[in-house]
Amino acid sequence: MTLQEQIRSNRLRTALVLLGFAVLTAALVLVIAGAYDPSVAGFIGIVAIGYGVFSWFFADKVVAAASGAHPISKDQAPELYRAVENAAIGAGLPRTPDVYNIQDDAPNAFAAGRNPEHAYVAATTGLVAKLSQRELEGVMAHEIAHIRNRDVRLMSLAAVLVGVIALVADMLMRITIWGGSASRNKDLGPFGVIMGIVAMILAPIGAALLQMALSRRREYLADASAAEITGDPEGLALALAKLRDDTTPLHTVTRATAHLFIESPLRDHKGLRSSLGGLFDTHPPLEDRIARLAEAGGFPPP
């Protein structure tokens, strides 16, 4: 698959994500309209449309806020900046993306943005502290690859739109359990409650499946692109091996932002994974990614 094909596929998927968001919110609106009040439903519909438009332009900012990422200057993190600059040059980006820091000891990183002109990469303090310069270059090249392959808009939008679906579903759950204006529309009441429950079960599952559909092949491709950008697949493989062996939990991660990170931050967390097996995994197994890099570079997997 060439870069152009990937970019085209990302555009299509972006449209699908927006469509999926529209359909899911429409379904929720209908459920609310049936169970509660059409005017409330209409209001929520308008809010959802506004939110969708807002997300298109500001998803990356929302993601930064949700994961506690702050812009930093070159003086504060010269090694990180250099790694980002080198990768940006190696990938032929029109400008060096902004560099953000996440105050967290767990080594992890992600990229977000709208296009290569408006993008940033975020790295945790732990990543910079625990990786060597060579490994850091590999990880940053992976993030830069997401920007160059135009993955970032899709991933940022998915984070923000998927996040809000989970939020709305949670809210609806609370209303159904604790009662909102459920006394009205008595005839639709029980039916509406059942619909509500179904929607509440389906919404997060649909959302999670959506996330999964986004990530897996994208990660392999970004790894391959990173190897091309740095000319050093082993650097990235060594970094991934370090991430694999590190068990520090990332604090600021949510279900909405998990797929953004270079390594799934929800790994080993109770609940999501243990109850549903690999269904909700947003990332291919690290072992697999390391093995592929090792094969491409012709070195023994670390």
Binding site: N86, A87, G92
Partner: protein, 186 residues
């Protein structure tokens, strides 16, 4: 009547293909050009470090005029170069000149302890990394462009509209050598 429409459809499809193929070639060629100017930017940046570097070394090694001469020649060659072969030649010249200059610096421990000199060396190492990255990107885009140029049936479009192959960026002796080791001591 149907036959006419079929012919029209075939011609339209052909035209669309030609436009798409042409546009793809243009895009790839632009990437090659911007890849080259990215190398150029980094080489100029390295050249800009030279005067300060020479000054700090001169303060200790007064009698090494041949080394300073070589570096300043390489610098003017870099600034004057506009074509790919000239740029690559200036690049090679600069690499060996810098190796010579740092080799001289190696003999003066006091110089290597000076903060500003260390900072310059660090900056130089960083620029070398960036030149290597830019070179890698350029060669990748050239490979893509040349492949597209030779592929059937794009080669027909390319031949008819005057696209020509581009050369890889190579520095004299070998294909893609490692950047000069400029990290002394550390």
């Amino acid at each position: 009547m149907t036959a006419v429409w079929i012919v029209v459809a075939i011609i339209a499809a052909l035209l669309i293909y030609l436009v798409l193929a042409y546009n793809r070639l243009v895009r790839l060629r632009n990437e090659v050009d911007s890849g080259f100017s990215s190398i150029d930017v980094q080489l100029k940046r390295r050249a800009d470090l030279i005067p300060n570097l020479v000054e700090s070394v001169k303060a200790y090694a007064v009698h090494e005029s041949s080394v300073f001469e070589a570096v300043s020649q390489a610098r003017s060659a870099t600034l004057a170069a506009t074509t790919l072969p000239a740029t690559a030649a200036a690049d090679a010249l600069m690499q060996s000149a810098i190796t010579g200059l740092l080799g001289v610096a190696e003999a003066y421990p006091q110089l290597r302890a000076v903060e500003s000199f260390k900072a310059l060396q660090d900056e130089l190492a960083d620029t070398e990394d960036k030149i290597a990255a830019a070179r890698r990107y350029y060669n990748t885009t050239v490979r893509r462009y040349n492949t597209m140029l030779q592929s059937v049936p794009t080669n027909v479009v390319a031949g008819a509209t005057g696209f020509t192959r581009r050369a890889f960026y190579r520095i004299e002796d070998d294909a893609d050598r490692e950047p000069v080791a400029v990290k002394l001591g550390t």
